[in-house]
Amino acid sequence: MSAAAFAVRPASARQFAGTGILLRFALRRDRVMIPVWVAVNALLVLSMPSTIEGLYGTPAERADLVAQMGTNSSLRAMVGPVFGDSLGALTAWRVGITAGVLAAVTGLLVVVRHTRDEEESGRQELVMSGTVGRRAALTAALLAAAVANGALALLVTAGLAGQGAAGSLAFGLGVAGVGMLFATMAAIAAQLTESARLARGLTAAVLGAAFVLRAAGDSAKDDGSSPLTWASPLGWLSNLRAFAGERWWVLGLFVGAVLLQAAVAYALAGRRDVGMSFLPSRPGPAAGRLGSAGALAWRLQRGGVLGWSIGFLLAGLVYGGMAKGAADLVGDNDNAREIFQRMGGQSGLTDAFLAAMAGMFGLVAALYIVASVLRLHAEETSGRAEPVLAGAVGRLRWAAGHLAPAFGGSVLLMLLAGLGLAVGHGEQAGPILGACLVQVPAVWAVGGIAVLMYGLVPGAATGAWGVAGAVLLIGWVGPVLDAPRAVLDLSPFGHLPKLPGGPMEWPPLLVLTALAAALTAAGLAGLRRRDMTS
């Protein structure tokens, strides 16, 4: 073949060759995932104005609400400062952080899925052997995230336009900005780590830190001016002040950060080989001490247990420290009290705050237990379970090895959250620990559902994430939306006694524990009977 057969094109164009094909390919693979995340997020935002109008019908009531929020540091820590009493401003205030977090998670999942995940699995090699430029894969992943966030911005801007065109545009762009900021951050993490799991974990840890920084900053200042708030991209979103005298220049922060992070990701990607990372794996021992399926499972899960434990303890300390502020609220403000009562379930405001926090930790622990139970599924589908089960290991024992860190780990997490809250708050250690531990049966029930789905319909096992997501949504947003009892009751967390402060009720705990045991047993019975897939 002659040299002339190669098309002569500038080197820069070759770097991006094939990006269009890869982008179409990525969107095709994500044809369910991206629309679902975007639709849930948009629905959450767009349902808010009418909900707030239903709860606070008159301008006077809304002004009253804003006045109370301004004075309460604990409320601000949870949902951020409020800058105006219009329906639009209240919407941006109430769902801003939740929408930002959802957009961030969408962005990081999409980017890691199409970069490090592909490299780790080895699929990338085959793709790169085609006419595909060195930067095409990363670019396609970022563009896929941009498509998702662009769609979200469009839906939010159009849907909230009735509340004010400028505000809806600012809010839509702000939420999408948070999404792209974490998408590009995930792009950096995907260059640093060798495993997709670690890349997702690192980015999620940054997101968690951003959440806590903003909470700490907002509890200190009522106008979002704390440096801690400015250190958090979630704080930028509220400081954008959508529907309340938009500060358009804040969008520049998002653009700058996104461009900077993308540049770093490209620079890192250009300096490494396909499949390699900047945090390479070190050699391990030539001989091993692992001697059983249980030891193996613990070895595989211990890193996750440790990471989640640290997160729960730190978050507990931070939120425990804020609990005092809850009591500062003027005693006879019925509306704020009402929100807390719906979340926390009783009238003493410190107690209500602590109860709401315990409930929130329980909801997050439900995510942990699903992730942990689904390790069974990952081991099976990757083919790694097969040689283990070809050893003298029964399926139940193999499964028990992974279920122990799942179910035991959720007890540990709730204990650590309780410990953190108690130390941060400085009193009421016993009741706080109790409040956290009563969450465990509900967490277990979600875990039981995951085991059941995995055991009976392994093909649909990842649907357990949908269950955890629904439980999270009901528990997080349900009380604020004043959802009907029937909906709240769908979640196992809706049946728990509201502690501390409320009366202790054993029956729901016992029923939930029995339910979790029955679901787990049914799932394991299914696992014993069915074919192993691979």
């Binding site: 060798e194 794996s281 030539a286 692992l290 001697g291 790694r384 089960l389 003298a392 290991v393």
Partner: protein, 301 residues
């Protein structure tokens, strides 16, 4: 001879696909048994039934005298399994995985483990992700050969091995046989099977089509004969079992059913033989015949 594996009339469907359709298999204790078949013919499905990972829809299977589904754990103490595509945990070293697999079976002979690691030139300190395909296979092979077991089930175990390592593998299998262990070897490398196996089963579309020692199987096929004779041959065409007869002057080429070889040779020597070559059928020819049949059926459809 006692049987290490007996399977009769095994059926297994996945949805509308009939992966196994009345498969029979019999592996005697202490023999190396070759398990051959085209891609998708049901070899791995059979092996996964024998390991108790899949439950057969119908038919009987016994491994080491027990039911592979109900007594899986007991059987697995005495079995070592090597899959065709070994996946490892990214954060565990090869050495850790070898020891884990060994302990999950009947235990590991540390001397043999060290010796095998050396012979296969495996670096056991590397982590799972950094091994190449061939090296991942070596991890599973070292664990299997060093394990203290009675039966080895090897499912295309040498995929990705270089020719030198392939030779090491063959010597290891021979040593296992010498120690009285049973080996079920599924493979596409026919020279390997021909070299190692006492008996062979060929399956197609989930059914056993041939089973027996290589000598027996050869008996069922044709030997090719070419000869230069003293005069023009006569009567060859009329002999039973002669195929593809090609006569050019004094030269003769033909195929003959191996059990009819005798009559052909007698006829040739009556004419007077100047030179003679006779080639027994290779396993490849044997095997290709079954592949070919499968192909023909596909094209006929």
């Amino acid at each position: 001879m006692t049987k290490a594996i007996t399977v009769s009339g095994l059926h297994k469907s996945f949805g509308r696909t009939h992966a196994l359709d009345g498969l029979d298999l019999s592996v005697g204790s202490g023999e190396v048994h070759g398990f051959l078949g085209p891609n998708g013919s049901g070899k791995s499905t059979t092996i996964r039934v024998l390991l108790g990972l899949l439950r057969a829809d119908a038919g009987a299977a016994q491994v080491l005298g027990r039911d592979p589904w109900t007594d899986a754990v007991e059987i697995h103490r005495r079995i070592a399994y090597v899959p065709g595509d070994v996946t490892l945990w990214r954060n565990l070293s090869g050495g850790e995985v070898i020891d884990l697999y060994g302990r999950l079976r009947g235990g590991l002979d540390p001397r043999r483990r060290a010796e095998l690691t050396e012979r296969f030139e495996l670096d056991p300190t590397k982590k799972g992700r950094t091994y190449s395909k061939g090296n991942r296979q070596k991890v599973a092979l070292v664990a299997a050969f060093a394990s203290d077991v009675d039966l080895l089930i090897l499912d295309e175990p040498t995929s990705g091995l270089d020719p030198l390592m392939e030779e090491v593998f063959q010597r290891c299998v021979a040593e296992e046989r010498d120690r009285g262990r049973t080996v079920l070897l599924s493979s596409h490398i026919l020279s390997e099977v021909e070299e190692l196996c006492d008996r062979v089963s060929i399956i197609r579309k989930g059914r056993t089509v041939e089973s027996g020692s290589l000598a027996e199987l050869r008996h069922l096929t044709r030997t090719s004969v070419s000869a230069e004779l003293a005069g023009p041959p006569n009567g060859l065409a009329g002999l039973p079992g002669v195929h593809d007869l090609d006569v050019q002057g004094h030269r003769v080429r033909l195929q003959v059913d191996t059990d009819r070889l005798d009559a052909v040779l007698r006829s040739l020597s009556e004419t007077g033989v100047r030179s003679l070559t006779s080639t027994p059928p290779t396993l490849e020819e044997l095997f290709l015949r079954h592949y070919q049949d499968a192909q023909d059926e596909v094209t006929a459809r």
